[in-house]
């Protein structure tokens, strides 16, 4: 019973904390650019605003357009329930492993791409085709990084993954591959640019151009959660630490350590974003190809035991 309650608590915490990460990244970026910038809480204000706004839906859109935001959010929430934050024995542990995580994300993305095509706007089509192009290149890298980690633990189970372990060459390479993939998956520079107003250069944003109001809020929230999960994966590989017991006191400590590690990743992402220009679209293949190669080397290293 406590475990079920903790699982729900975990999902709620993901919802509550994940917008903060984006706010933090934006704040750091603005400060580096010698600007005061928006409040660190701005993503929360945006969500509140969007939830209270009316929605405009194209007359040609079908049920897919309306359903997609819910599916996207549901898939991210399901993924967040799989991640062990508080609990070392998740009630959902038999529901999925690390590989399931990849497919759960893919489900949300698939419906977002369908919804983007649904309205028939030219930007939706462009955005969907680019997003699929990028994710088809990102997924192999992500898979290999996860294989490398799984090989070290002898299991694809998330619980094995969150056990304490020493940092090896293989895990560093896997973390690097994960980091590159995360930049692509969270639509950040050098792959995509969240801040742009240039509709022709957008990837992820172009898919969302037709969304407004509550649906947009759901989509934004789901991408915040997805970002936090990906950051968690990197953090867990680079700064490994074992799960605490079921007692509540170490759990809260562990949660703080968990947050701190994610914040470090956020700072690195922010610094990467201000110091690079966005790549030409077709260069993304090279970039993610590099992540793929890192993943392969990580797998080989894991098999060699280094």
């Amino acid at each position: 019973m406590t475990k079920t309650a903790l699982t729900f608590l975990q999902i709620i915490l993901f919802i509550a904390v994940s917008p903060f990460l984006s706010g933090l990244i934006t704040k750091i970026k603005n400060n580096v650019r010698m600007r005061k910038g928006q409040s660190i809480w701005q993503p929360y204000f945006n969500l509140l605003k969007l939830f209270s706004k009316q929605e405009v839906v194209s007359g040609t859109a079908s049920w897919i357009f309306r359903a997609a935001p819910f599916i996207a959010l549901a898939s991210c929430l399901a993924a967040s329930a799989l991640i062990p934050v508080f609990i070392f024995v998740s009630p959902l542990q038999r529901m999925g492993d690390l590989l399931a995580l990849i497919f759960i994300f893919a489900l949300g993305r698939f419906f977002m791409a369908l919804a983007a095509l649904d309205t028939g706007s030219s930007f939706g089509g462009m955005g969907a085709s680019r997003e699929m192009f990028i994710s088809s290149l990102a997924e192999p890298g992500l898979c290999l990084a996860i294989f490398a980690i799984s090989l070290q633990f002898g299991s694809t189970s998330i619980l094995a993954f969150s056990a304490s372990h020493a940092v090896s060459i293989s895990s560093v390479l896997a973390a690097a591959a994960l980091f590159l993939v995360t930049l692509a998956e969270t639509s950040r520079i050098p792959v995509d640019n969240q801040e742009t107003h240039l509709e022709l250069t957008m990837v992820h944003e172009a898919m969302l151009l037709e969304y407004s109001g509550r649906s947009l809020a759901l989509i934004e929230l789901s991408s915040y959660i997805k970002q936090m999960i990906l950051f968690f994966l990197i953090a867990q590989v680079v700064f490994p630490i074992g799960m605490p017991g079921a007692a509540l006191a170490p759990i809260s400590l562990w949660f703080l350590w968990y947050l701190a590690r994610i914040l470090i990743i956020a700072v690195v992402v922010a610094l990467v974003e201000v110091s690079l220009a966005k790549m030409r679209l077709f260069r993304v293949a090279d970039f993610l190809g590099f992540a793929f190669v890192l993943g392969i080397i990580a797998v080989v290293c894991a098999m060699l035991g280094v």
């Binding site: 580096v32 030219s122 240039l198 022709l200 250069t201 201000v274 220009a277 030409r280 679209l281």
Partner: protein, 525 residues
């Protein structure tokens, strides 16, 4: 080449050439009046001989005075530092002329404009679609620049036919006129196969305000104010071109002090726009740090402008007859100190850009406009120089620039990087020029003369930051304006943009667009 020289060149190409009149109206203006039959051939000979696209081609309505429409074509004769204006009369009973566009592409847009504004048909033109008066709003048969035009009622009478590319896997992507950012309205129709662009057609005219009509019947000081509003980011170059036209008509001798001050302000305008675009190119590839850096430099330039002349965008500085703002020692010192600091900051900015691999990878080889294409389209100014056309009015009509030893910036590759490099070297050159000009200023010297109003017509010009801004002005009794034809460099260069993106991928379009940074309001008028 003297005046007879040009005529004899035309005669050698056209044996039966017999101009109605030929005169050196002003030292830098040579007018030839020909019969309608000889107009086309004369223009083509000049086009070939001078190597100049048609810089202006426009009509004026003289039906009340002579019963005719007049058409003028302006060519640049850079070797002789003068403009050659060919004109012809067209009977009002049969308003048409033979198209030039088939042999000289740069005339095409002008002819479309003449057709929609005056109802004078360019016979045989390959393209008679309207430019600014969109069929969706304005019914055909109304010609606003005719003198007897009153007003027209709006009504949907048709739609625009875009050039179509058909074939398997070819899609059309319509973009605009409403964009996701706060930018001017323009519609872009891409034909793409996947991401690469096969064809791009820009449809503009959404900010058409009837500027040329507004100039009519204005006194010259009213019109001077209006000229500052034609294009918001090139206030000074537009007002300067207009003022020079008026000064030529009234044969005024402008004091050296005014010319020097004008040089300073013209370069200040160039500087803040160039640095803005350099930052813009960076942010369009998502490189936000240099953009923030460039914004700071731009803002300090605007604040400098404000402290020098109480206007951030240099309004109310220029006036036909001279300059209203003077520079005392305090301002000169302010200018010197600010420029020194800005040059330092600017060099740091350039270093950030040139040392960033990810940035250089984006701009190098993107959006190439080849020289031949640029020449055929009549691309001018900055974009032309980036494609290797060594034309700059500051070089060929130097005035005070001669003493300041102006050095023209030319690149050959025609890509985004070339346009960026031109901006960078022009910014630094502008800094140097301002220092030279300000050293030449004489204390407490007159910077303004009173004008004597006359009837006449003249061409005014200035090398704005985008390129040559041209004003052809005709005044009537009492010095009131009868016709004012404006050509902003954007007018030709939009076409250049459409050609430069071919073969590039759609996500690179905003970058190419920013590297040209053309004006909507200057084009739509």
């Amino acid at each position: 080449m003297d005046r007879a020289g040009l005529i004899s060149v035309i005669k050698s190409k056209l044996p039966d050439f017999n101009p109605i009149s030929a005169a050196q109206g002003f030292p830098d203006e040579f007018s030839i009046k020909v019969s309608p039959e000889a107009f086309k051939d004369t223009c083509l000979v000049l086009h070939k001989h001078l190597g100049s696209p048609v810089m202006m081609l426009f009509a004026l309505d003289q039906r009340k005075e002579t019963g005719n429409f007049v058409i003028n074509a302006v060519f640049a004769d850079f070797r002789e530092s003068r403009w050659v204006i060919v004109s012809m009369d067209i009977r009002q009973e049969n308003p048409c002329f033979e198209t030039l566009a088939k042999s000289m592409h740069s005339a095409l847009l002008f002819e479309r404009e003449i057709w929609e504004m005056f109802g004078i048909e360019p016979k045989g033109s390959p393209d008679l679609r309207r430019l600014n008066l969109h069929d969706e709003v304005w019914p055909r048969g109304n010609y606003p620049l005719r003198k007897d035009f009153q007003k027209m009622a709006a009504g949907n009478t048709g739609e625009y036919n875009f050039a179509r590319v058909e074939g398997e896997g070819v899609f059309e992507v319509p973009v605009g006129p409403v964009h996701a950012g706060i930018i001017g309205p323009g519609h872009f129709r891409f034909s793409v196969a996947g991401e690469p662009i096969i064809n791009l057609e820009a449809r503009l005219g959404f900010t058409h305000r009837g500027v040329e009509k507004l100039f009519e019947n204005k006194s010259y000081d009213q019109a001077a104010c209006l000229s500052e509003c034609v294009c918001g980011d090139a206030v000074f170059s537009h007002s300067l071109a207009f003022a020079r036209a008026i000064e030529k008509i009234s044969c005024a001798r402008i004091p050296l002090q005014a010319d020097l001050l004008r040089g300073i302000f013209l370069e200040l305008e160039r500087m803040h726009n160039h640095v803005h675009d350099i930052g813009g190119i960076a942010i369009d590839v998502g490189f936000s740090y240099p953009h923030a850096y460039a914004s700071i430099i731009k803002e300090s330039l605007l604040q400098l402008n404000e402290r020098l002349c109480a206007s951030r965008y240099l309004k109310k500085v220029n006036l036909p007859g001279g300059v209203l703002t003077d520079m005392d020692d305090e301002k000169k010192e302010l200018l010197r100190v600010s420029l020194k600091k800005m040059k330092h900051d600017f060099n740091a900015l350039v270093k950030i850009l040139y040392t960033s691999v990810s940035f250089m990878d984006r701009v190098d080889g993107t959006g190439v406009l080849r020289r031949k294409t640029a020449e055929d389209l009549g691309v001018t100014g900055l974009a032309g120089r980036a494609s290797g056309i060594p034309e700059d009015l500051r070089k060929y009509f130097p005035g005070v620039y001669k003493e300041a030893k102006f050095k023209i910036a030319v690149e050959g590759s025609g890509d985004v990087l070339a346009r960026l490099r031109i901006r960078i070297s022009e910014f630094l050159e502008s800094c140097r020029l301002i220092e030279e000009f300000s050293a030449m200023l004489v204390k407490d010297s007159r910077s303004k003369v009173d004008l004597e109003l006359r009837e006449g017509s003249a061409l005014g010009y200035a090398e704005g930051w985008r390129g040559p801004v041209l004003y052809w002005v005709k005044t009537g009794p009492g010095g009131r304006l009868q016709r004012c034809k404006i050509v902003d460099p954007s007018f030709h260069n939009w076409q250049g943009l459409c050609f430069s993106v071919l073969g590039n991928i759609i996500p690179d379009f905003p970058l190419c667009n920013k590297s040209f940074d053309l004006s909507y309001s200057g084009n739509d008028l």
